[in-house]
Symmetry: C3
Subunit: 131 residues, 3 copies
Amino acid sequence: MITLDITTRQREDMIDITALIRQTIRNTGIDRGIAYLHVPHTTSAITINENADPDVVHDLLLGLRRLAQRDAGYRHAEGNSDAHIKSSLLGVDQTLLIDGGEPVLGTWQGIYFCEFDGPRRRKLHIRILAA
Amino acid sequence: MITLDITTRQREDMIDITALIRQTIRNTGIDRGIAYLHVPHTTSAITINENADPDVVHDLLLGLRRLAQRDAGYRHAEGNSDAHIKSSLLGVDQTLLIDGGEPVLGTWQGIYFCEFDGPRRRKLHIRILAA
Amino acid sequence: MITLDITTRQREDMIDITALIRQTIRNTGIDRGIAYLHVPHTTSAITINENADPDVVHDLLLGLRRLAQRDAGYRHAEGNSDAHIKSSLLGVDQTLLIDGGEPVLGTWQGIYFCEFDGPRRRKLHIRILAA
């Protein structure tokens, strides 16, 4: 298992980790297999979405903010229940197919580490298995 | 890795691909294992839900439309930010257990390819590993 | 494949199954690998979120109720379309890394079986593969 460090820059953030994951997969020398990603936090998540137009990231964070507003009559005293909800909506795990030593991604797909209660220093675990 | 072609019929659509996935798994002759599905697009997704009453599909698409409305002050110039949001909410990957040469599904479960910005010709990647 | 029985206590419920999953993994004696969890129902789901403060579970269920209200003009005659929507939002599968014979989880992470149309007797399938 490989653990990567991710530093997020603001309360709500999406960090494009495609190149980082690609390099991590290449370093293993595995040609065909599966990569399992796990975010060990409860106020962040992982998702795959468009990496061409940065406005898509803006709109994703905006759309999620509308789904779980920050101060909306929650009980949890830390005041970050919106971040916990977003984490469960997007999920903390992601599976990637590996083919030709590369993660299989569509033309417009990038892998994003999603921060909902930052900025913080975060971890991301990866296990890569050969097929 | 196997790549299937999926043709969607309208802007928002859920195509029941259970029989297609079942046949694809059978063709490999693998009795026990795991199937990994990956949608290589950023405005579609994959989900598992009820395949008995077509009203459930209607209500799922309706419920998602309420969560991410089409014209809601987004920045992305293509005008399909709602579709990007829905794609991340449902996710582009799905893992299936295989037992007795069949995907393990509950009585009412079907596998759906979800289109949010169609109609289009789409791809679905599958890798099947023996346990 | 191992199948566990889960009994839910109310219509909307989150059952902390972390200890149950941990024990199931330990029983296999597998040191390093992957656990695949699958919920074979269409009105329940699985998620990972905070297991320290029970208010987080309360707020998650509250947040989801706001996203899919119970009587909101759905077609499906069973009256549980809200539960189907929540099931697809959180998803019915979960992948866990196993290291040192234990599921890899962050300090505050617990695994939850999510009920949206209970109380009911439910099933959870698990397959555990060595790396």
